[in-house]
């Protein structure tokens, strides 16, 4: 059963086409890594999945709900899809624990104590329970991104979207974030991950999607993709990453 | 009431209003050029390493900026004759007042402009053997002025609007001329609306110009 289905999505900014007829799907429990050179449209594609970026053609279906349909309650859908951003996007004016509870109480309608308990549990899980009362600005980048993951998990999402979660981090902080993601993948979370971290992809990805100039150029099992990529662009891309 | 509006008096009133507008423009231009020159000197004094000069300039700028323009207009109008011993016309008093007042505001803009030029530019100029004055004239000020051109113009639009405050000392500017015309023809409502339209047209055109300029400067950077 596919959790996310992207069907022939095209998107234009004015005259410029950023996505051209993109199709793929992510099954329940599957981890899919989307990679490609910068400007290939991968970040735009993942933002189409929860409707943060509108698209002009095609459709995205998440858990049998159409993202493009006019009558779809997007906030309700988004509440069930977790998302982690490149620049963390924690809310700077709220403490860490408030960041984790605000949507639980305001969107899901959970009681404050329940939301707090859930938040603390997740902070503990990402190793940041001691920082609950601090503000985002007082944490390192790696810590902030772990809080952001916990914030998304607090909503009990049916799947998680990661938009270059480690590319804004200093190198020494990348692993603490990847470790959390690996653990999540091993627990069976459905994940769509835009990243350049090929080590992560090798370790946990079931499938890899390679994008270039707004198109899905290659789609293969992780072993096949890293072992013998078929397209020239993918070969060049992998070679460039080795240097 | 709308149906009773009668703008036919605008025609015969125009020559008089034109004279008022000319004075408003003259006041704006004099205060702008004088204000920018004095303001630049004040800004240089403030950023200089001579403590006395920097303190004096700061005191002047901060004092003027903390007082309503209307009060400054009154101060100059009543105090200048006390010093010179002879009464001074409202128009001349306005020219002096606005130049001195605007200098304080322009100096803050120039100071920000000077700070916007990166320090290494000064080092580079010094490394080429330019004297401090040469560096200022050929390297720092040209860059600073380009950066602050939109803000200088915006301040000038504000200045043009503020010239209407010479009303307080009875100088015959655009607003005063319109008011007198309105009284003479017994059509004050129409004249206030007309003068508002003139101010709006001039300021709106200028501020649209500033926006275009801002975009172009942003591209050059």
């Amino acid at each position: 059963m596919s959790m996310i289905e992207i069907r022939n999505v095209s998107k234009w900014y004015g005259q410029f086409q950023v996505l051209a007829d993109c199709s793929t799907q992510v099954s329940k429990g599957e981890v899919v890594v989307v990679c490609g050179p910068s400007g290939s449209g991968k970040s735009t594609l993942i933002k189409c999945v929860n409707g943060l970026e509108p698209f002009q053609k095609g459709d995205v279906v998440v858990d049998e709900i159409s993202v493009g349909a006019a009558k779809t309650d997007l906030p309700k859908l988004r509440a069930r899809v977790g998302m982690v951003f490149q620049h963390f996007e924690l809310f700077p004016h709220m403490s860490v624990i408030e960041n984790l509870t605000i949507a639980q109480t305001k969107v899901l309608g959970r009681a404050r104590d329940e939301a707090r308990e859930r938040g603390i549990k997740l902070l503990d899980r990402v190793g940041l329970k001691a920082h609950a009362a601090k503000f985002p600005g007082e944490l390192s980048g790696g810590q902030q991104q772990r809080v952001a993951i916990a914030r998304a998990l607090a909503m009990d999402p049916i799947c998680m979207l990661f938009d270059e979660p480690t590319s804004a981090l200093d190198p020494e902080m990348v692993n603490e974030v990847l470790d959390v993601m690996v653990e999540l993948a091993r627990e069976g979370m459905t994940m769509m991950v835009v990243t350049h971290e090929m080590g992560f992809a090798r370790k946990v990805a079931h499938r890899v999607i390679f994008m270039d100039t707004g198109r899905v150029v290659e789609e293969a099992g992780a072993d096949t993709f890293f072992g013998a990529p078929t397209s020239r662009r993918a070969q060049q891309f992998l070679a460039s990453l080795k240097h | 009431m709308l149906g009773q509006l009668d703008f036919s008096i605008v025609g015969p009133g125009l020559p008089f209003i034109w004279i008022g507008l000319l004075f408003s423009l003259k006041l704006t231009l004099v205060a702008m050029s004088g204000g920018i020159v004095l303001g630049t000197l004040l800004a240089l004094a403030r950023t200089s390493s001579k403590v006395a000069a920097s303190r004096a300039a700061a005191a002047y700028v901060n004092t003027v900026r903390s007082i309503p323009l209307l009060m400054v207009i009154l101060w100059f109008f009543f105090l200048i004759p006390l010093f010179t011993g002879a009464p001074m016309g409202a128009e001349n008093s306005a020219l002096i007042t606005f130049t001195a007042f605007e200098a304080a505001y322009y100096s803050e803009i120039v100071r920000a402009g000077l700070n916007s030029v990166p320090q290494p530019q000064r080092f580079a100029a010094a490394a080429l053997g330019l004297t401090k004055i040469q560096a200022l004239a050929h390297v720092v000020l040209p860059q600073a002025f380009r950066n602050m051109l939109p803000v200088l113009l915006t301040q000038t639009i504000v200045l043009f609007q503020d010239t209407s405050l010479v009303y307080a000392i009875g100088a015959k500017d655009l607003l005063k001329a319109a008011e007198i015309t309105g009284k003479n023809y017994n059509r004050p409502v129409e004249m206030y609306l007309f003068v508002a339209l003139i101010y709006f047209s001039i300021c709106f055109c200028l501020s649209t110009l500033v926006k275009c300029l801002q975009k172009r400067i942003a591209i050059i950077r």
Binding site: P75, R78, P92, G137 | S66, P68, L165
Partner: protein
């Protein structure tokens, strides 16, 4: 310079009545503060709403908001004041028009307050808009991604941060509104500028009259500055450096 100093003038009786000049000044200070504060509340409320609407994903709201700002920013405050005082009453329904012109209590105060409030609201709206737009775009996305509606995203994510960003520019607007309230003299509101002119006329003590008003304006502006600095300190977010992303 031939000037007869008289620092005792404040305690002397005014020639036209049995009050002292000091009483005049105190009541003038009251009017200045009342006009400034009331207008400031109007400016904050209206300016906050208009500024926020100017960032809305709706073309007509943006155009309406822009028109509001351009209209109030491109006509001199004094001209706006005359329009509120002399022109607007002419366009009211007959009954209301007559009441405003003849019977309305504290007419000068209300006219000056509305005029100054709307004038400043345009400037506040401009600050609020640029404050909101200076926030990283990802913040709005993060709010939406968590399932907030657009209204909730503004309420919980965008506006609380925008509010903090606009405090410094709003501080100078608050000080400006006090200085700008001086124009109210032109329609006869007996605030500081009006009274200092009156005092010059009656007592002839130019220097003392102007000095009293000037010092009081400065004190008010300084007080406004301190109030805003207090709010700024209270609203400070730990670890967050304004402007850093």
């Amino acid at each position: 310079m031939n000037y007869h100093w008289n620092w005792g003038v404040y305690l002397e009786q005014v020639s036209s009545g049995d009050e002292r000049y000091l009483d005049w000044i105190v009541s003038a200070l009251g009017w200045t503060v009342a006009v400034s504060m009331t207008a400031w509340v109007i400016a904050l409320l209206l300016g906050g709403v208009v500024g926020t609407l100017r960032t809305a994903p709706n073309r007509w709201l943006v155009i309406a908001g822009n028109a509001w700002v351009e209209f109030f920013r491109n006509v001199p405050l004094l001209v706006q004041l005359f329009i509120w005082f002399f022109v607007v009453p002419e366009f009211l329904p007959a009954e209301l028009s007559r009441w405003v012109k003849q019977d309305m209590p504290a007419k000068e105060f209300f006219t000056a307050t509305i005029c100054l409030g709307l004038f400043t609201s345009a400037r506040v709206a401009e600050q609020v808009r640029s404050g909101i737009q200076s926030l990283p775009r990802g913040q709005k996305m993060a709010g939406l991604a968590m399932g907030f509606t657009l209204a909730q995203t503004y309420r919980y994510v965008i506006l609380p941060m925008a509010f903090r960003i606009v405090i410094p520019p709003l501080t100078s607007e608050f000080m400006n509104i006090i200085k700008n309230s001086a124009v109210a003299f032109a329609i006869g509101l007996m605030e500081l500028t009006f009274i200092s002119r009156q005092m010059i006329e009656e007592s002839g003590q130019v220097f003392e009259s102007l000095l009293a008003a000037t010092i009081l304006y400065t004190v008010c502006a300084f007080a406004a500055n301190r109030v805003m600095a207090f709010i700024e300190a209270r609203a400070r977010v730990p670890g967050y450096i304004a402007g850093a992303k």
